[in-house]
């Protein structure tokens, strides 16, 4: 129930943001639209085992933002300079989390961090299949994804790790 309430609050906020105006009419409109969405697409209780640690979440955000800048710079350099340093590969990266929500989060972030792109998430515990642009050292790819995962776990997970 509280999850539905949370979803409804979030959708109402987004609705008001899209109208760019905080008013009673917009809030009511958001609640109506949000309730209709919840009715048509009921949440499936995926978020169990999750929490929010604001400080760790900020750290994850900061780290991820920097990684996005670095990732863009690497792709830009590869595209602009005439020499190709590509050494592509597809590697399997086992995750430590069992939460599907966190696997989705990490998988999404991996696609926006340097040189890696998630192709698929399979299995339980989930394994990421990642396309790598510049493979130098497989261990280093694993380590960078595990760093990202560890930060995400610290920010959102209630699972026991380490």
């Amino acid at each position: 129930m509280s999850q539905r309430l949370l979803s409804l609050t979030w959708m109402t906020l987004v609705w008001m943001a899209l109208w760019g105006d905080i008013s009673v009419a917009n809030a009511l409109g958001g609640i109506v639209v949000g309730s209709a969405i919840l009715l048509i697409v009921p949440p499936r209780g995926l978020s169990s085992g999750l929490t929010l640690r604001p400080f760790s979440a900020l750290r994850l955000g900061a780290y991820f933002s920097w990684q996005l800048v670095e990732a863009s710079a690497i792709v830009a350099w590869e595209v602009i300079t005439p020499v190709s340093r590509l050494n592509q590969a597809i590697v399997a990266v086992p995750l430590r989390t069992r939460s599907r929500v966190l696997a989705a989060l990490v998988g999404n972030m991996v696609s926006l961090t340097p040189g890696t792109l998630t192709l698929d998430v399979l299995g339980d515990p989930p394994v990421l299949y990642v396309h790598v642009l510049h493979l130098r050292d497989g261990k280093q790819i694993l380590a960078s994804i595990h760093t990202l995962e560890a930060l995400a776990l610290r920010a959102f997970s209630t699972e026991e790790h380490q």
Partner: protein, 121 residues
């Protein structure tokens, strides 16, 4: 000063979008092109919209564009993921130097192994 910051952000964002589109043309296969379509394109959009918000100095526009940025962060990787996965399963040709472990190719249900595939790694 605000104008200068806004203009710099807009220029940087547009430049990244340009790089992303050149990348779509220059990179050798679908998978490497998806890299160009996700990272620089996303950062480019973030910089451009931040520039717009600073230039306009309008809070309500800022909130709206914030929603756009969040949507981009969610949809860009999901789109790349779906295109990459279906392309691989459909047997889209990988660039010949791509390294794919046999186990990885089996797990992904690929119909064609990359020409350069070998075990190890």
């Amino acid at each position: 000063m605000t104008d200068f910051i806004a203009a710099s952000l807009l220029l940087a964002g547009v430049a990244l979008a340009l790089v992303a589109s050149i990348g779509l043309h220059r990179l050798p296969d679908l998978f490497s092109r998806m890299h160009a379509a996700t990272k620089p394109a996303t950062l480019g959009l973030v910089l451009t919209l931040t520039g717009v918000v600073i230039g306009l100095g309008d809070l309500s526009a800022g909130v709206k564009l914030g929603v756009v940025i969040i949507a981009q962060f969610i949809t860009a990787p999901i789109g790349a993921h779906l295109i990459g996965r279906s392309a691989y399963a459909a047997g889209t040709e990988l660039s010949p130097d791509t390294l794919v472990d046999k186990a990885v190719s089996d797990a992904l249900g690929g119909t064609t192994a990359a020409p350069g595939s070998e075990s190890g790694n």
